[in-house]
């Protein structure tokens, strides 16, 4: 094997050159200096002033560089890239700040018995280490589980009606589902209170709380599942029918398995939608302090209720408890979203 060429060194000519990188850093530093100088020399004050002067300076400097080294178009391009960076920062900062605050304050409320004790023998103003939120976690799991058992079949059947049957009521049902997904949770709670609690059960229980959550959960599951099912190519449905399957067997054997990971995502998004709902819990569950594993009877605690109750009392201990509850709830929701992303991005099987 003779080789008539010398293998060149692989390079990446599209990357910024060291000189350009240096210039970028220079402009960044110049903007920092400008923001300090302007805040010191003018009437402007505070963190917000630093923040905005910094971005304005960075945008203008980059635009100037574009104008000088290239042309007007490039200058405008550079200006708007910095503006987009600003937008991104404005979105990310509050979120990061919320997460930080919850982790920082919730940390102080963590103790060994937090996940194994309930509040039956403790009040929120007792020292942090007495009691715990076991009852709230158990309650939240039961409330969500019951709501899920009801919502999942209804939500998925609705989505199947919209994508597979495409019957005469497709439009009104889609409209209804969209309208329902805007229902405020307190309205769902009041609806169950007036239509079920006052007329039928005449008492608080986990079950009626779950019913209210169902109202909130069905539209989320139905809409997500509809989008997922719409992504399944029609070819597969035709192939199933052409092999002698009925429409329902084709849906059950071909369409749903193909959409499986997306449907799991729909389920998890539905759960994440309701797990932190507070208003229906206040109205319907009675919010007990002891572990109660019977959803049909007696007051049932939940994480949002626990948080609400702790903050309401207003002593130092109870507020720390509230933050700890928030931390647990946040970790729960974040892990649900991570699970949804993981299962949703994974290929089936």
């Amino acid at each position: 094997m003779t080789q008539s060429y010398v293998i060149p060194k692989p390079s990446r000519p599209w990357r910024p050159s060291p000189r350009e990188k240096g210039l970028n850093i220079g402009l960044l530093l110049a903007s920092v200096v400008t923001s300090y100088a302007l805040v010191a020399l003018t009437e402007m004050k505070g963190k917000l002033a630093y923040f905005f002067v910094f971005f304005a300076a960075l945008a203008l400097f980059n635009m100037a560089r574009g104008l000088i080294t290239k042309d007007w178009m490039n200058g405008r391009d550079q200006f708007f890239s910095v503006i987009m960076l600003l937008g991104m920062t404005i979105v990310i900062l509050p979120t990061a700040s919320i997460l930080y605050t919850v982790f920082d304050r919730g940390r102080k409320g963590l103790h060994a018995g937090l996940l194994t004790n309930d509040m039956a023998l403790a009040t929120p103003s007792d020292p942090i280490t007495s009691g715990g939120l076991l009852h709230a976690i158990v309650g939240t799991f039961l409330l969500v589980a019951v709501a899920l058992i009801v919502s999942l079949p209804i939500g998925i059947l609705t989505a199947l009606y919209l994508t597979e049957i495409k019957g005469r009521f497709t439009r009104p049902i889609r409209f209804l589902v969209q309208a329902m997904s805007g229902v405020p949770s307190i309205v769902a709670g009041l609806f169950i209170l007036s239509s079920v609690v006052y007329t039928v059960t005449k008492s608080y229980s986990g079950l009626v709380g779950s019913l209210a959550l169902t109202i909130l959960m069905i539209p989320t599951i139905a809409r997500t599942a509809e989008e997922v099912l719409n992504l399944i190519p029609n070819d597969l449905r035709e192939a199933g029918v052409a092999l002698g399957g009925t429409q329902w067997r084709t849906v059950a054997m071909v369409v749903i398995p193909a959409a499986r990971s997306g449907l799991i995502t729909a389920l998890i998004l539905g759960v994440a939608r309701i797990v932190g709902e507070t208003a229906p819990m206040l109205l319907l569950t009675g919010g007990g302090d002891a572990v109660n594993i019977n959803p049909t009877q007696g007051a049932m605690g939940s994480l949002p209720f626990y948080i609400w109750k702790s903050f309401l009392l207003g002593t130092e201990e109870s507020i720390t408890r509230g933050w700890a509850g928030l931390l647990v709830l946040l970790v729960l929701v974040l892990s649900l979203f991570l699970m949804a992303r993981f299962l949703g991005s994974r290929r089936t099987k």
Partner: protein
């Protein structure tokens, strides 16, 4: 060396259509006298909403023959082939007129069980469409499950169908892999194997090779020739050489402003050597379309 000769033996054994598995789902044995009379279209029209896409096609598909449908794009070949196994009605707003007789019985007669019709008249689509949630083996047998048919000897049936579709040697070691992990040509042969597993009497193929490389195309053409001994085949193709290679009869379709019509049908050799209609001649010699 020894395992190679074993394989050869196996293939020979599979090629004889007498194995247990070939008494498939609906109890017919391929290669026996159960071919039936064949399929006949009588004055078939088709509409999409108000759009009259196909007009007055009458065409016979005698049992055990291969018929090629040729013609420029949009002349209604797919529409026609889909009326032959009642897939046309799957499209919202679709309508049809005329009769399609399978062994002398109209498949559109009220009260006909449409799933049974589609079991007897199988279909292979233009784009390979294996089921993504199933393995290669499950894909082959999916028709049995979809139609809720019983078959005692699934492994033999799976092997036989893959052998007949010319795919066995390539996938026998990875029957549990996903259908999507095959190349386009292999996927299409998997779809053919899947269609064969329910042992149809008629096989409709809508441009089965248009998305494939020449090698895969040749494999599928060989498959078609072998299959034609045991079933009736209708194939839409844009490839004149392919039509000439695989088919006994050829029908030329054309939409001249109005709905698509069948212009001419005859033995394939005649269509390509001395067509009666000027438009057929222009098309097969490549002067238009």
């Amino acid at each position: 060396m020894s395992f190679q000769s074993k394989n050869d033996n196996k293939e020979k054994a599979m090629a004889t259509p007498s194995s247990l598995a070939s008494v498939a789902a609906n109890g017919r044995k391929p290669g026996t006298s159960t071919l039936g009379i064949g399929l006949e279209a009588r004055g078939v029209h088709a509409w999409f909403g108000k759009h009259h896409a196909l007009a007055n096609v009458s065409l016979d598909f005698p049992a055990g023959t291969v018929t090629a449908l040729i013609g420029p794009s949009g002349c209604g070949k797919s529409t026609f082939i889909r009326t032959l196994n009642r897939m046309h009605e799957f499209i919202p707003g679709a309508a049809m007129a005329g009769k399609v007789l399978l062994d002398g019985k109209d498949i559109y007669e009220p009260g006909t069980d449409v799933t049974k019709i589609r079991l007897k008249i199988g279909m292979v689509f233009q784009k390979p469409n294996p089921f993504p949630s199933m393995t290669i083996g499950e894909n082959v047998l999916s028709g049995l499950k979809l139609a809720q048919l019983k078959n005692a000897n699934k492994d033999d049936l799976m092997e036989e169908c893959l052998v007949r579709a010319g795919l066995w040697n390539e996938v026998k070691d990875r029957l549990n892999a996903h259908g999507g992990s095959l190349s386009g040509g292999q996927q299409q042969r998997l779809c053919i194997a899947r269609a064969l597993a329910v042992n149809p009497q008629v096989l409709l193929m809508d441009e089965p090779c248009s998305a494939l490389d020449p090698g895969s195309t040749l494999r599928i053409e060989e498959t078609i020739k072998e299959l034609s001994e045991t079933m009736t085949i209708v194939i839409v193709t844009h490839n004149m050489q392919q039509a000439a290679r695989v088919s006994d009869f050829t029908a030329f379709f054309l939409a001249d402003g109005g709905p698509g019509e069948m212009i001419e049908t005859a033995a394939t050799s005649q269509i390509f050597s001395q067509p009666r209609d000027k438009r057929t001649e222009n098309y097969v010699t490549g002067r238009f379309g």
